[in-house]
Symmetry: D2
Subunit: 315 residues, 4 copies
């Protein structure tokens, strides 16, 4: 078992879940440290039902994670595969996001081990699951912070542009924008025209709305420059606030913990049936798994309905 | 529009959603105060897009709610129906839980107004929807509190029995128990044998686990007495903590706000199509609605799979 | 070093502080487990600067704490004194509340070790310090919960009686009541007349205030019975909510962490000067220490000014 | 009464306190909107005991605040003085920070009204008081966020530089750094040498500490550039996180609410004794007031002891 890519709240809950459910089936679990790096260097510990005690509510990951450029090369993958063989590992559980799943797909041609991916990422951008472990926590962290910023926005009659995480995808920005009542939501997937932004803000001002919120995904470009432009074109005071790494941390919420436990269950079921090269997921509120090759090659679509709804609600 | 029964976080978000989406369709919305009582006394205000500003993140309900024994009688229902006629009300939106839906069903034979029920209840006990507005918030409030209690449980090597809300149903207790890592979960729907509880605790003690959590729904009976019995039969120190009304309040979480907005959308869609006597809901992650008569007469089943999973994870 | 009595948020921060500051002075620190019990059984570990890493923000106490009836007898104290001698312990740091300080005073006639007490208790009832470690956290936990309960109080037009911790003293109840805006505050130190309570509530009702908060310390007697009486005499719906053990846990607030670090500093200073039998404290915002015999024999007074202020503010 | 400068959590609690305590003394209170601007434009409302209901726990300020360049000129001050005369205002309560107090001092030569300043600022930089309203809340908000970031720091073995508010003063950074366990704290008041930073980090790395926290006040200069330099000189991965406006908002903590109520009390006492041109404050845990001229001309010193303590604790 490894955790890879950016950390996400609930990764520890997934570790606990896998270890305890595997232990009930007499399956032994090794934890390799620092993601793929630990596979290359063969740095691991045995995880037991007792050693994962108290993990359910902890943010971060006790197995650590890291970027591992070495693993991107053929040589790195071969060494990792060797480590698995050496330790007689039958199945490898990869807990991580989109990038981790693509890396797992590449790795699958180097190893006979059954690969199971567990989608854990605050970005929610994994094809094959409606939700990833950590997403619900990240969105809640963001809306709690923005609720606080709103106090200042209202008190000082200001427009706040809030940049939330999401370098490539706008899942966080969309759900956050909708549930903090943002007047404008900017996503990497949706082209926006500056003129429309100016127009909306000027219109709101005319209606008497002197404060307001713009929620933008980090992937939309230079938010600082955009905030400046908006200020110049709307005679409103506009401030930028970049919500940072706190979105990745913190105790996982109920849903992130539950999802981690459910995914762990599905994972152990697959492994005990000797199935591999699959990504577990939640579809139509049911636990499922899809082929690794499918999840790694397809892009999860954004729900355009939500964006329309957000616009209607922000009048 | 009325809010009835116990309050739930996200009721205000539902009010905001309905008013703004209705306003976009030029539908006028009255808010009747104190639930059914406001219909009997014809006490209402007009709700406008502006007047519901800032409601998204507020707990409670600005329309207030109350128990209304008068409404349970024929005479009360007739007066309420008269109020609707008097104000030329075409549709009545009832935001509330299980009891409110049953009352709406009874009321439907007294009025021609299109009745739409919006499931909002921390108890999650409405047939026809996988989740009710407020449930996610209540569960998160509970697990945050229990995470704190766990500090003491571990420091003092004690067993804590935590009573969570749920007079008739165990949805909160089950999800809370699973995600705080309770060793034992007690639900109104599942018969338990005291002997099994003693056995589990003694076994854990033998394994070296000196602290532990028991999560119990309030509907299982006298938790204080049970905690005392467990203490006597296990030589463990057992403390009871009753999580109270805080579970009903607080700013709604992301999911409770999102659900409120989605249900509001479905509600306004139904009303604008002149459909009535329906309960909106979420099924397989899709917005749906089912007949009021069906929702009010059927009982939502508990997921037995989750209970098994909780047991497996608590080793 | 031991932690004794009820746990308090910031005890771990105090352990970290003592260990790191002692380590800078080349003083070795043992941690005895389960409070006085660990002294009797000689169960200890060496604490190092590294081993206390990450403790600053953790609730509870890694040294555990327990009630230890054995220590209340002469024989227990003698055995504890022997343990100290056996391990060549020169100073004993007792982190705990009022009861722990009295026990330390008793113990002082059995040992030559320099005893230093560090006031840590959610109850804030230690003579010689304006604040104890953990008090600020407990009060904040309580007001956050009551803010949530207020949502329901307002939505349902109800009176809520909230019982907060404080079996003998009303420090928590007073500060909580003042800062949640309670209409009535009931303390063990102040006699109340039921008639005055009924009168205040009826008067508020006449002024149009249909909801309200009563904050009561657990030490005032049977709050459930009182809530019932108030309901009968005021025609208001009155609900009781007992805030439980969550008040003891959770991550310590800024002040509880700061106080823990400052007390740790004062403690290590005293020990390095070979001073003993003292209780560290904060007086007029300055770090001080007073004799153990004084702190253990005097009772910390309540500030009557605050109570008057609370009444004036609750109009 | 006005609220001016940046908003701070607890300003609303101060408004509530002043209005209710004044009302008990039959003193009428006007609230002027948008700070000094409202004095210039004579835009005010009468505040009553009832109208400030529910304010205790609300962040922001219902009176709004704004920067008012007009007021910095003679003409603006004269118009403001005229407004006070016109409305027969005897005393003016200015709730705000350092800048507001200096403006009040300037204004005092234009008006006969008794000026009382209530220190409210997250920056804690007002001479004459150990604490300002809002400071405790801001520090707690910051440490809660940093606790979350620490999850990622540990999981990814990274150094995080956290920029907290404080353009001119380091009070927030110092207290935050001390209570999150930062390895390095950078303040505007204390010159730092980059070489020392590199050295500390490299030393920690040698000791096996792969993650770490640097807390920096925004006033220390270009934190982004500094983070880059540290990364280059230490072979550590360094990330910057700028904690934004959330530090200004949110529900006030217990201390911020308490301080607001105590300051309100002192303010109303002074006004009822016809005293003016004073700044209320907390000194050695006692309520005091000092001359406006003194508070506006002196600089509050930083506690150098705390900085030393922070260094000792971060080993």
């Amino acid at each position: 078992m490894i955790t890879t890519g950016g950390d996400a709240p609930g990764m520890n809950a997934a570790i606990r879940g896998v270890v305890r459910l595997a232990s009930a089936k007499k399956i032994r679990v090794f934890g390799f440290k620092h993601g793929w790096e630990g596979l290359i260097t063969n740095s691991h510990t045995t995880l037991t039902a007792r050693s994962v005690s108290g993990l359910l509510q902890q943010g971060g990951t006790i197995l650590h994670t890291s970027r591992c450029p070495q693993f991107e090369k053929k040589n790195g993958m071969m060494r990792a595969a060797k480590t698995l063989k050496l330790n007689h590992v039958e199945g490898l559980i990869v807990v991580g996001g989109n990038g981790s799943i693509r890396a797992a797909q590449d790795f699958s041609s180097y190893t006979d081990a059954h690969l199971i991916c567990v989608p854990a990422s605050i970005d929610n951008d994994v094809f094959g699951t409606e939700e990833t472990i950590g997403f619900d926590t990240a969105v809640n962290t963001a809306i709690e912070e923005i609720d606080k910023i709103r106090d200042t926005a209202v008190s000082l009659d200001r427009i706040f542009m809030i940049e939330v995480m999401g370098r490539e995808r706008g899942f966080i920005a969309l759900d956050v924008g909708l549930t903090v009542g943002a007047e404008i939501i900017l996503l990497p997937e949706v082209k926006y025209r500056k003129h429309d932004i100016f127009h909306t803000i000027n219109e709101n001002r005319a209606k008497g709305k002197r404060s307001g919120l713009i929620v933008a995904a980090e992937g939309i470009g230079d938010t600082r420059a955009l905030a400046g432009e908006i200020q110049r074109h709307t005679r409103s005071e506009v401030r930028l606030s970049v919500l940072g790494y706190a979105q990745r941390g913190g105790n996982p919420t109920f849903r992130s913990r539950l999802l981690a436990s459910l995914f762990a269950n599905e994972t152990v079921e697959l492994l005990s049936k000797k199935e591999g090269n699959r990504v577990v997921g939640l579809q139509k509120d049911r636990l499922v798994s899809i082929p690794l090759s499918e999840s790694s090659s397809k892009e999860k679509p954004l729900d355009p309905h939500l964006l329309r709804l957000a616009k209607l609600l922000a009048i």
